[in-house]
Assembly symmetry: C2
Homo-oligomer: 429 residues x 2
Amino acid sequence: MVELSRAGLHVSVSDPVATSMNFLNEIAGRYPDAISLAAGRPYDGFYSVEDIVRYQRSYVDHLRNGGLAEERVRGLLLQYGRTNGQLGDLIARMLEIDEDIVVPSESVMVTAGCQEAMIIALRALCAGPDDVVLAVEPCYVGLTGAARILGVDVVPVPEAAGGLDPDAVAEVARRVRAAGKRPRALYLVPNFSNPSGISLSTAIRRRLLEVAGEQDLLLLEDDPYGLFGLDDEPRPALKSLDTDGRVIYLGSFAKSCFPGARVGFLVADQTVVGDEGGRTLLADEMSAIKSMLTVNTSPISQAVIGGVLVESGCSMRTANQNKLSFYRNNLRTMLAALEEHFPQPERGMRGVRWNVPTGGFFAVVDVPFAADEKLLELSAEQFGVLWTPMSFFYSDGGDHALRLSCSYLAAERIAEGVRRLSRLVAEHA
Amino acid sequence: MVELSRAGLHVSVSDPVATSMNFLNEIAGRYPDAISLAAGRPYDGFYSVEDIVRYQRSYVDHLRNGGLAEERVRGLLLQYGRTNGQLGDLIARMLEIDEDIVVPSESVMVTAGCQEAMIIALRALCAGPDDVVLAVEPCYVGLTGAARILGVDVVPVPEAAGGLDPDAVAEVARRVRAAGKRPRALYLVPNFSNPSGISLSTAIRRRLLEVAGEQDLLLLEDDPYGLFGLDDEPRPALKSLDTDGRVIYLGSFAKSCFPGARVGFLVADQTVVGDEGGRTLLADEMSAIKSMLTVNTSPISQAVIGGVLVESGCSMRTANQNKLSFYRNNLRTMLAALEEHFPQPERGMRGVRWNVPTGGFFAVVDVPFAADEKLLELSAEQFGVLWTPMSFFYSDGGDHALRLSCSYLAAERIAEGVRRLSRLVAEHA
């Protein structure tokens, strides 16, 4: 029988990114009774299986009411379809209503989840071995993974406590250029970032756009959590402030609808100029890549998301009011439990501290010991609680911190999870 | 406003593969009344929109009847899911029933269409710049496109009139190796190939497996058309003859179910040996790649295909009996129309000839003039018929031939299309 060498595979399960994610799943499988403050998945009590059919029906009705013949409706759902998808109009309307982002519907590409949107954006922009992408670090592993598939180098820009420092971006871009590389884009999650939970101020957002212009960078704005703020402060999307076409917007429906649809999107309204001066839309150029990756996004899945959009009048903010109060309560519960179970002055003496995100699913706790895979295993076995080592999100570093998630569980389980974590910390500090 | 240079994009719409496919769509859009013998998509009269809901329901019932709690069913459909998908058992059973392929269900990975299966297989096997893939030429553009995304070189192995010559494979593999490259795999469509329509004899299949062993190649067996033979001759899947683990099987439901589901799969039951001697399944190693491309295949789409499998007792041969007679009739009609509208002795004098496939969707017509994009445009405008230049499927060559498809239209339209083609040929020969 053939035996292949793992060393001869491009990416294997022993790849650091894959290992990180597998380790979490594996350990969650081995300790099913442990409370998981590791899983960043959304709470799944908001929907039932029956909703799938209802949403599909709403979308089909929308098509029929729009005057499409039955044959055309059938073709849209069952045949090969337009590479960039069929939800461009609805998504463009949603972006205008919810985010004040005004873009032509042709600049929207529907993707097989936001993961595919990331890989398409990276593939389009990074054409040669010298093209690199900058990314805020700690960084979402999906971006690192997409770059890994393509062999694109990711250059980290360290995140400060108040969020990304635009001057640090400029500094890294200059350094990269001095080393003979071409920095093409900066990846960031401006709202309640994964993993750090940090949001950027409006002033930083505006300054980032200026730096992007000065450094000739595009910004890859990933915003899966923006709907879930603790307060109603405006957090303008970079894309809504972008008068210069610097931002490629990456969108997800995994948290606002549900992950099972595997529908995401990107907005690429930049102009591309060909050799002979012809002008096209970047989204249209990217369709060549999309067709070579997955042909087009499942129209059956698009129909489900289309139904959610139709039923909500194209406002995910409206559609997510019940989720918003659930997630707000969860985050407040987690932060309150941290205060309760890590009281002062012990906390300060032990060197335990955490950030206080203003929304989203995550917070980061600094601990006075290495929060590594070995400790995670012990935490699962002896204390019944799971968390994510922050080192999973660093190319190098993050050893003394852990990420807590509050999205998947009901509030009382979160509080109990934090209590268990405090026992682990008390024994190891 | 930012302007990007097309030359700075990795793949653009001006890429040869993208151009080929776009040109066909574009010209079909401009001449909607032209009969398309170009489109290789399946006939879409077999299903209605209502079937989607029924299939999903059948799959959900299957899960519930299997004893899964409602919460678990909901999670399977609406949450993030297992990277390699949830249809492994059903697909493994289908492969055994329909193809005599016996593999563990863990070796099955469900993908976002067969296109993603191709890119995952290429990405796993081609790890460094010297790793190349061989492919039968003329070659399906999906494979060329997948390689293009990854920057993997494709080395053509010319197809002979009787199909692929295994000795030619060995010869190309040796030449590639002599040039310092590493041939990792050979891509082929053994049944009614796209674009050539050619099938391989059982003897050639067996010899190919021997050559794969001698040359240390894997075989990427792509079989979207195998169900649609004109006769009931056995055409054993390479994977069913594969006692040595040489074959990675690439599967599609686009023709046997419908394209809109965007569900395909691969079978990778090879053993992978790690640095410390640990042994894993190639499909499990590949899950790292899948997670970085699309996370997992839409469970909502998987549910539709799952329903088709459940309803048919996991036999696509059974489920496709009505399609089989439709496609058989279409291919016979096309071949008969060629005989009728290109009579001897003119045909021979003009140098017109075609191959006579024993099944599938395609045949190739040699013509005594360049069958290029310019002629295609003229053919659409003045003769009302579309076909595909064979040059689209060659790295170099194929200029005097065209591919005819007979899958999408009703038989009478196909006959009329061939009649129109004969007028074009008469004027240009």
